[in-house]
Every structure is written in C-alpha cells, then in structure tokens.
Symmetry: C2
Subunit: 525 residues, 2 copies
Amino acid sequence: MLTGEMFVGAARVRGSGKEVRSRDPRTGVELAPGYRYGGAAEVARAAALAEEAFDVYRATDSATRAAFLERIADEISALAGPIVERAVLETGLPEARLTGEASRTTGQLRLFAATLREGSWHGARIDPAQPDRTPLPRADIRQRRVPLGPVAVFGASNFPLAFSVAGGDTASALAAGCPVVVKAHDAHLGTSELVASAVRAAVVACGLPEGVFTQLVGDGPELGTQLVTDPRIQAVGFTGSRRAGLALVAAAASRPQPIPVYAEMSSVNPVVLLPGALAARGAELGTAFVGSLTLGAGQFCTNPGLVLAVEGPGLDEFVSAAAEAVRGDAGGTMLTLGIAGAYASGRDRLAGRPGVTELARGEAGSSVACGGAALLSVDGSRFTADPELQEEVFGATSLVVRCADQAELLAVVRALEGQLTATVHADESDEPLAAALLPVLERKAGRILFNGWPTGVEVGHAMVHGGPFPATSDSRTTSVGSLAIERFLRPVAYQDVPAALLPPVLRDGNPEGVWRRIDGELSRD
Amino acid sequence: MLTGEMFVGAARVRGSGKEVRSRDPRTGVELAPGYRYGGAAEVARAAALAEEAFDVYRATDSATRAAFLERIADEISALAGPIVERAVLETGLPEARLTGEASRTTGQLRLFAATLREGSWHGARIDPAQPDRTPLPRADIRQRRVPLGPVAVFGASNFPLAFSVAGGDTASALAAGCPVVVKAHDAHLGTSELVASAVRAAVVACGLPEGVFTQLVGDGPELGTQLVTDPRIQAVGFTGSRRAGLALVAAAASRPQPIPVYAEMSSVNPVVLLPGALAARGAELGTAFVGSLTLGAGQFCTNPGLVLAVEGPGLDEFVSAAAEAVRGDAGGTMLTLGIAGAYASGRDRLAGRPGVTELARGEAGSSVACGGAALLSVDGSRFTADPELQEEVFGATSLVVRCADQAELLAVVRALEGQLTATVHADESDEPLAAALLPVLERKAGRILFNGWPTGVEVGHAMVHGGPFPATSDSRTTSVGSLAIERFLRPVAYQDVPAALLPPVLRDGNPEGVWRRIDGELSRD
C-alpha cells in the first residue's frame, strides 16, 4: 500500500536525495518502504502548483470548501484502520490513543467545515454610503477577509494525525482558502503517505486544482528553509521544538517580503497548587498529577513540567504520592530514538542543576526509545535565580518548586516565560489568592484551567492553544479551535465597488445570509 | 503655553540631550521653545510606569475606557484653537486641513469609545461543559481577548494630529487596554506637547494611573530602538518611511521575546484607468487625478504615485489634462526641509531612470520647503523590468505607465509590490476587465476603490488602511477604523474557572449584554 513517494500536486514523486525510513521506536527496527528526500526542485514545483491553484481555490464558496474538508475527513475515516496500524508502528503510541486521535483529526476538519458554513469567518462589514453627509459625502465601504496565499505546514512528531499532514494547521489553512504544502515528519513517513493519499483523493473527488495540496519529504532544516523562503509561500504553520521554530521565524523574517510564522514551540505548563486544595487533597492531587505527566510518555505540548506550591499542609503528601506514582510508572515508549536521547539528557541536565533534588524516577521501560519519568524539586528562590530551570524537557519530567510563602509564589509566577497553559488547583478558601494570581497568569498563558490537568486540548470554538513567547511565536492567535482560521486571512476594503463586482458576501440583501457588521452593528438581514 | 518638556507619566521632564526645535517649513524659521532629547533614562522610566499602570488599566471596564477616550477627545477639542495654530506653524499645512484633521482625531477617539461600548471587541466565546459526553466529558471553556501590554507609538510627520500623539495607534491601543508610550515627531514638537497635555488632563480627570500615557522626545533611531527593545513594551505602532519601519521591525525581532510591529510604510497606490472610462472622460479624469496627487503637497500615505492604462482612446487626453494641471499647480509647502530635499532627489532619481519621460513639472512655490509636482511617463515593458520605478517618492510625483495591451496591464499589476490602496476607473463596459483585475488587486492592496481617488481615508468600521508588504509590515490588520483595536489583543481561554473568578464578560447570564459565540453561534442572551 505504501510506495515511498511524496505527493507534488497530483504527481507521486520519488525524491532523489538521502533515503530515510521510519523506525519502530519500541524495537528500533527500520520500517519499509524507504523514502528519499526531495529538495529545491520539489519545493519549487510544489510552490508553483500551489500558487497556480490559489486563485481558483480561494474563489470557491464556503459550501464547496466545507464539502472538501468533510470529504478529507471521510477519506481519512475510510482509511483509519491502516493509518492507525502504521502509526502504532511508527510512533509507539497505543492503538486506542491513535484511534482517538484519528477521530479528533476528522472532528477538526468537520469543525472548520461548520465554521465555513456559519460564515462569520468572512468578517463582513458594511459602512453604507452617506451621499448627503457634510462637509463631505461618505463613500460606500465594505470589508471582508481574503486568504493570505499558499501556506507551508510542518508535521509534528507527537501528534502524527492531529498536528500533522491533515492536522489543525492544514485544516484551518484549507478552510481559509489557502493551498497547503506539508513537510512530512521523518518520524512517521508511512502514516503521512497514507493521510496524504486520503487528502489527494478528496482533492480529486471535489474537482479542485491539484496544487491545493502537496506533501513533501525532505531534510528538516534544508527543505524547511527552502519552503519558508519560497516567494510564493505566504504563511507558515509549525509545531515542534523552540530551536526549529525560531529557525523558521528567522528564515521568514529574512525574506524580501517577510511572512507570518505560527510556531508552537515550548511550554512547561505550570500547575499551581493553592493551600486550601493542597490541604484538602494533597495526596490525591499528587497521584492525578502523575497521570497527566506520564500520559503519552509525557510527549504532549501541554505536559505539566512545573508544579508550584507554597510550603504548608498537604505539600509533603502531594510530593510523596507523586513520587510514589512516578516510581510505579512502567515507562513509556518515546516517539523516536532521538527524542528519547534528548529527553534523557534534558532530564539529567535539569536534575543536575544546583539546588535541584531528584525525588523519584520511574521505570525506563523495555523499549529501545524508552523514557523513564522523573520528579525533581527545587526551592522558589533558587528557581527564580536560574532561568535554565524553566527550559522545557520534552517528556515525563516535572519540577516541583517549593515556595516559602505566597509572595514568593507570585514572584515565581511573574518570572515565568510565556506558556500554552497554566493550571490552578484551588478550593473555595483559595479564591482570594486565585483572584490575585489570575491576572498574572493571563499575561503568561493562552489557557488557564482550574482543578484539572493541562493535557487534553478540547477542539472547539472557545479553545486557545497558543500563548506568549516562547510558547508560540505569535500570541495573537491559536492553533487549535475554530479561531485558528483567522491566522490565514487578511482584511480587504471595497470602496464604491460596483454591485456586480462585489463578492457575494458583501452584496446588498445578504445573499449568503451571514452575520455582518452594518455601521458597526451585527446583523443577519 | 509651551514648556519644551516631555511627559513621563505625570511628570513634565526636560531632556538632557541635544536641543531640537521645530521649524516653520514655509520660512525655515526655528520655533520656540527648544526641546531636549531624552534617552535611555526616560525610556526606562516611561516603560516602568506603563508596566505598573497596565494591570490597573486593563482591569477597567469598557465604559471606563470609553469615557477616557471621550475625555481625551473633549480635551483636544477644548484646545483645538492653539493646537491648530501651532500645527500650521510647524507643518505648513493649511488651517482648514488641520481643523478637519482635529475633528478626525476626536472622531477616531469617539469611534473607539463606541466600539468599546458595543463590546464585540472582547471576542467572547463560550463552549459550555458537557458532563455527560462520552467517551470523555467536556470541560467548560470560555474565551476572551486581553490586551498585549504597553505599546510604543511613533508619531508620523504627515498627519500631525490623526497619526500622531493621540492618533489612531494611540486611540486603538488605549481602547484595547494598553498603556501607550509615544515618541513625538521632531517636525511638530509643539503640537505634540499640546496634544499630550490634553491626554494627560484626561488621564487625571479619569483617575487613571499616570503610566497609562507618556510622551517622549528623542532621536528617532536611538530612542526608537531603546523603546522597541525595552522588555516591558509589547507592541509597536508606526507610520513613516520604509527604512525607519524596517529598522523597528528588525529591532523588535532581535529581542529575546519578539513583539508585533505594525508599521505602515510605503505605497505608490496604483490608479488603473480602464478603456471605457478613459474613452468617456479622459481629460476629466486627468484633471481630477492631479487634484488628488497634489493634495497636501502629495504627502498622503495614499497619494496616487502610479497610473496604469492601456494605449487607446482617451489616454492622450488624460495625460494632456493631467500635465496641464501639474504645470498649473502653484506648489505646496512640504512638512520639513528634509522631506522637501528627499522629495526633490526622489523625483529627479525617478525622472532620470532609463525610459522615463518627464511630461510636466509644477511651480516649486515660494516656501523654503517647497516641492513642485511632477508627472512622468514610462512604457509598461520598461516598468516591469525596473523595480526602482516602483519605489515611493513621498510627494506630488506620479508615473504614468502606458501599457501596450490588456495583457501587459495585467502583467504590470501582477508585478506590483503590496499597496495600501488600488484604484480602478471603470465604466459599465469595462466590467469584464475589471472582474479579471479584481482578484489580482485583492492580493496587492488593503483597499480597492472604484471611480474615486485614494486620498482621504474614511474612519469607520469597514475601512482597511493596511495592505501586503511593504505597504505595511503586517497585512493581517488595519491602522484606521475600528478593526484596529484587534492589533493589541490576544485570546485567552478559561477552562472550568470558578464563576466568581470569571471576567464579567464571560459570566453566565451575559451581565455585559454583549454579543458572544455560544458553541459557535452568535448570541446576545
């Protein structure tokens, strides 16, 4: 079923560069087929096809694009068995998790289909002419959003379906009317080929231009830079490491025409345990916390890598229960040997920082790419003095920061970098402190959650999966949820444009029946 | 009335650097008082005060901020006489223009006050909990937008009121809940001091923290870089030259934590004359065009510096009438001697490019900072071959590009850089060509207008004053109109946050009565 080829528009192409194979991270065994890297030629061809497709694709109406997204979802569902089977081999993630992720992926596509049909994404605004206004008449001015152009999407390793070939970035860019050029992640090349074939089938079934979707295989830094600096690419979606994300940001900024980069990069997702909650259920929180920490071998962007608490009743119970749970963890398979190696050295680096104590370490597990959990501890004063303690260790390691008092806790929170999430465990008695904390957390995180755990990102209209730098390169948006479509749009105003030439969504009588802002007031008339 | 001081929060401060004075560009006479440049100390103090004010200011409700903006408008209106009088001296712009600009400035402030009261700016979204969902219950997730933090605003020379101290960037940032640190433009320091005193009076009258507004005087590149790289500054608004704008973009990108820069920089605002319109009223269009070209001595960001037409009936009449109008133009006073010098050399550079013919030149005028209009012409094939012909000459010079046929016209349009505006003159007979042109223009410009002139930017809800690079550094937004508030906001999600801790706009029962998206559906219930 797998060919080892990439998809450059409608063409299946075998690269001419280095041959790479995904590996089963449980055994280290290389998986067939081999894929050869593409390079400048494939990037140029993909970008040319995407550019050629752009005007046709963006002129399609919301219903057409919604049907296309739904067709992609249907094609993925039809292929879900082989996709999940291959993804298990390539990622070591459990079948149940990947089955759930496949549903999430099709759910995302359907969410954007619904968002398109609802129509507010157009951002339609009409300020009608005022021919009798003095001293000067007012022109008729109408506004809508248009897509930016072809978008480069980089598949992430840790969600081989939901943040990869047909993941959130691809779904939102396609919804916005932007052709997509995906760079497949080396860690799951077969999964990527299967998903790409599903997308291609949908392109054909919907009669769309071939350049709407391309999937390339290539060297991350080299092909990534070629793609981001191609003049036809107009925006970038990325989820991955801080180093790789910042390299793409720099490449995009170095272009004669700079373009936006939406890079989701790095977050330690602080969990703040307030005194009342801790006193009431310290041990219970400790056990539940490790459940979140070790989920998926700690390979979630929202993995809780930092716990903040004030010395007092319940903290020792939390730490004991968490340490016990970590020691009892059987160890997970990490996504790749490289990730497992980076995890081990990151964990050991963090454990070796001055003032850091290792409280517990879990079983390494039997995989080749194993990653044993670890629980570390440090004092609040030491934490604020050592910025390296804030660096993300991708995997199931977390650092408990013990603060002397509430003032130190607030100082620690203020010293944090930007985060995807911030979690608070609080009882009613904690509300005054929680109220003081909330404005500080609002400046640090894209999502604030109470009495839960940050792993598990709901896909809906209100979700924000984003946050201040370095959590992302652009805090003004989200990469999960329907708001993500706005990343790939820009507003255009039409002044006194003849009725026959106006886009339908801006015509008198509201033929599309969408919400529009008339002289500032929302209306569907 | 003028003291020569800057405003660092509530304190009037005299700088300790170089002394500068504005000049009357009509006579070259230096104007009292002298202002001394501030530097790192004033930037640090301003940023510290802004940071200190931020949490208090952003916690104010929409009504409080709306009243503040209206109070600023009232204070400016009360001081309009002296402000306009001083601005005439400092800019050489006519009194009637500046009186109109004062109204526009207060109108902008009131527009943002209305936008705040309407409440959609919150971007409120609620996805209610689904405790019974299977396989997993859904948490309660709510979203609103929060302000980014202190904003640096750079006053522009060409709109000493509407794009300066209390102009659109300041109004939209204050509306969003961001304290503002303005760098006053050297060309109108007295006007800036007067307007800043009006803003300060409003800060005091509304009982807001002093750090909400600061106005600094200083060296553009030096103080500008200090300001943009201060870690407390979180966004930048700028209108000015491409060189200066790109320097700020680079400074912002070089920070440990990069920040957004909204720089409105460079646009030649193409005017496309279609055959039907040209044949019907070539001469009339030529005369009207020069009216737009020479308005305010050509010192509008939307000044029409480029005319595109296909050879055919009416084009010679257009050119003759335009040339005659240019020759008859008495010449205007430019804003500064430096701008007049740059204009003259830019005009002469453009006129001297291979293939360019000078059709007409206007009177230079009697001012010291004079800038005579010029009309140049070139062939379409030459234009696409020479990128320098696209460079903005800030002032009343325009280049007529004569295209051999419609295909060449479309090729010329496709070769254009990003623009603030694109204008089309078309009759009904031109609609097929206009329809072919429109999608191309949508990719080039932030505003497309028919049968009018680009100078004159309406301040409303549907306006876009922005556009693809290099018109701006960020095409996803506008610097004029109510949408501009979104530049200074980012979304935050609240998951299972206790009711008492939720921001009022997200509480059950919609206590603020604003539009919110409930499970994706807009509602005011």
